[in-house]
Symmetry: C2
Subunit: 110 residues, 2 copies
DNA sequence: CATGCATATTAGGATATTATAATATTTAAA
DNA sequence: TTTAAATATTATAATATCCTAATATGCATG
């Protein structure tokens, strides 16, 4: 009595390994979205560039806190900064992320 | 010199308030997704019911930890349990969430 | 160069999350 | 009614996150 053919098992295990890797890659991004203030900032940015001041005014959070959130998202490569005189404009780097955020806004609207 | 018409300002502020509320409502759900193990579990469940044992085997995490994650998601109403003999089958409650998870899998696949 | 405005950084305490180990519960079946 | 398997719960230590207050940096303009 030989074993069951090993290929299917192996490839399933490989699928699982792949899935785990994807989860490990995506989870940190979701972690960044998973905060009311940051999600608000990102929803705003999904509609286009904004300065820190705009973001602060809209969100009502302290300047320091906004800046910390933005710095974190910059470190993570989620947003990019562009200076224009005294102001700094932020934008979402990956259009796919913008699209996902807009998609989520729709999904959870009701 | 009268003020600028107040309606637009008011309605923009109301939009912001609405957006904030949505963020406050959605963020906790994202927080639940924002963990490699939980995301893996949910990706699996997005494809259909599974028992704790299946989930444990696939994820390789400890029984206790899986159970804690599932309990948390049950408390949050994200997932539902159904007993069948010794086994307990879990499933995602809201099809919209399943769809979102599958959508994300696609989005971040590349 | 001094002043003001916009933004960033740092330090800190408070709180939340995570994983592990140990124990409990529930069900099936001998 | 033991026993074993599947799942849940609890306690706890390690770590991470969050916010505030204070301070620093960079730029523009008088």
């Amino acid at each position: 009595m030989g074993r069951a053919p090993s290929r299917p098992v192996d490839s399933r295990m490989q699928d699982i390994a792949e899935a785990k890797k994807r989860c490990a890659r995506v989870a940190p991004i979701l972690k960044t979205l998973a905060h009311p203030q940051r999600l608000f900032l990102l929803c705003r940015l999904a509609k286009g560039e904004a300065t820190v001041t705009e973001l602060r005014d809209a969100s009502g959070a302290s300047q320091s806190l906004i800046s910390q959130h933005l710095t974190r998202m910059r470190r993570e490569g989620i947003v990019q900064a562009r200076r224009d005189g005294n102001f700094i404009h932020y934008r979402i780097v990956d259009p796919k992320l913008s699209a996902l955020i807009l998609h989520m806004e729709k999904t959870f609207n009701e």
